[in-house]
Amino acid sequence: MEHLIHTEEITKIYNPRKPDEMRALEGVSIQINRGEVVALKGPSGSGKTTLLSLIGCMGRPTSGRIVVEGRDVAKLPERFLTAIRRSTFGFIFQQFNLLRDVSVIDNVLLPLYPVDIDVPAMQQRADRLLDTLGIGAKRHLKVKQLSGGEQQRVAIARALINKPTVIIADEPTAHLDRQLATDLLAILEQLNREGKTIVIATHDPLVHEHPFITKTIGMRNGRIEGVVQR
């Protein structure tokens, strides 16, 4: 398998040279291959979310290289990072990060607003996704009217609307009960079967012990503790 993403000795320091300086990552090097399902495992504060955000081009490392589909993104200008984020990644956040007063369909369509694609095609794509995820009937409800599991599905639909290559999920089961968490993993497994590469930060054993995980990267105190390839 080819490397889709790899990092070389990346370091991330928040508030450098200030009293509240915090070293979130220290010399982290990992490889993620196309089609893999990677679990970043570790306790709170181990650097999982920071690593996810850097891989997903949401921030820049203090030092080191991050290569996404052959491009070193660590020093790219903001607008290129946005373009990569838009075309390559779909994000599922721990808190869902949906707009609560906005309808389900509009939340799903949000990533497509600044894209030059016509509205009927946008709607069609969103409708198909919502139907696939079993929430098509609730497309016109506001997000705040949905249950936690339904909101999670809206977040997944939004992550998929741009047809991303990589899905990045940060603690996706943190706010779900066991049944909903199992349902979510089934959806992610299906997406992986359809060819998506998936990177999940989690400390939930249900996720990192799931059979569809192909690689587990253990983290502690901003460093890699170990990599287990299955």
Binding site: S53, M58, G59, E78, L98, V102, L110, Y113, P114, V115
Partner: protein, 385 residues
């Protein structure tokens, strides 16, 4: 293009989503614009009225001065003025003011021989007999009379005199005729008890307008106890008075402006946590900084242009349909003695453009700047909320 329309649609839906906050801003903003536009409309309309008034005014008016005050002028001065080279005609004018205790209004009473330039009767005819008069629509309204009715007013001997109303006036400018009562010249002189050899002032027409200042100087030389007033001097006085009053009004109004600026500044610096979170989410899911700025631009533009439009329309209605009831006493003067008159609608588009520039642009900027600050930060923060 499609992309811009979609972002505009999203901006409008965002405004609706925060409807209570935006409605409050819209109301305050609209009211501020309405007050500002009302001052500008009213000042411009009054100046316009004044210029209409002076269209048919004589090139020069000569008044006699006594002890530093305007006095009745000897009629024979007109002949002296006519002898000055360049003067086409010098005519004594007889007019005065009448305070009507009944309606607590001041009327302008004018004496004429035959016609009167610049005035057009809407109904009836000019007075031709000492027992007749023609009146302005304001007088007709406050006295509830019309053509064929009687107007009873009290002369200088404290005797009530009844005049048959033969006509009511219309003019390009209401300011000119609204409070007017026209009598025959002889009757006016009797009414006010004017001596036969005296007039109120002398109207002078000249052959060449450019010679007016020279002729005025010559009149002062020939008749040193007179004061020649040129048409331009009157126009300048009107401008100065209305500009001064509108300036004073703007100073008073500045407290409202300051309140609005504080509101705008609060909005500018006080971007809410919810809005910051939304910007973070949008960036995280693929919106560029420029997309977010465009979104905020549309939000600011929609709100400020709507307020500007509503405020301007409200000001137009306030000034031209309700005679600027909130501001007129300040701009026109505090006297309650003059009859009300309706202004002729007249708008200076240059002023509107400047006002738009000074209100809409700062608001849009105050919307964009804090969003820009939030939008240039890495979207990573959204991962941690």
């Amino acid at each position: 293009m499609r992309r811009h329309i979609k972002i505009l649609e999203y901006a409008l839906s965002s405004l609706v989503r925060r409807k209570y906050k935006n409605l409050a801003i819209l109301l305050v903003y609209t009211f501020t614009i309405m007050l500002l536009a009302s001052i500008l409309f009213l000042t411009h309309a009054l100046k316009q009225e004044a210029s209409f008034l002076l269209l048919d005014a004589p090139d020069l008016v000569v008044q006699k001065m006594a002890a530093g005050r305007h006095d009745l002028i000897p009629v024979q001065y007109a002949r002296a003025v006519e002898k000055i080279r360049g003067v086409k005609k010098a005519s004594p004018r007889h007019w005065g003011y009448y305070y009507d205790a009944l309606t607590r209004s001041n009327y302008t009473v004018l004496g004429i021989d035959t016609g009167m330039p610049g005035l057009h009767l809407v109904e009836g005819s000019l007075p031709s007999d000492k027992g007749q008069c023609a009146i302005g629509t304001g007088v007709a309204a406050v006295r509830s009379v019309g053509v064929g009715d009687e107007l009873i007013i009290v002369d200088s001997h404290n005797t009530g005199t009844a005049y048959e109303i033969t006509g009511t006036f219309s003019a390009q400018s209401n300011l000119l005729t609204y409070d007017l009562v026209v009598l025959t010249r002889g009757e006016l002189m009797r009414f006010f008890g004017l001596p036969a050899d005296r007039a109120t002032d002398i109207a002078v027409e000249v052959h060449n307008e450019r010679e007016v200042p020279t002729i005025a100087a010559k009149i002062r030389q020939v008749l040193p106890d007179t004061r020649p007033i040129t048409k331009n001097e009157i126009i300048r006085t009107y401008d100065a008075v209305f500009n001064w009053r509108s300036g004073m009004m703007l100073v008073i109004f500045s407290s409202a402006l300051i309140a609005f600026c504080i509101l705008a500044w609060d909005k500018a610096t006080g971007i809410s946590a919810e809005e910051k979170r939304e910007i973070g989410i949008l960036k995280a899911i693929g919106w560029d900084t420029s997309d977010i700025l465009e979104l905020k631009f549309w939000e600011g533009a929609a709100l400020s242009l709507t307020s500007f439009l509503l405020g301007s329309i409200a000001a137009y209605v306030h000034v031209f349909f309700f005679s600027a009831s909130l501001l007129a006493p300040v701009i026109k003067g505090w006297s309650v003695l003059f009859p009300e008159f309706r202004l002729t609608p007249s708008i200076d588009f240059y002023q509107i453009t400047v006002m738009g520039f000074l209100t809409v642009v700062p608001y849009i900027a105050s919307t964009i700047v804090p969003s820009w600050k939030a939008a240039i930060t890495d979207p990573e923060s959204v991962m941690r909320t």
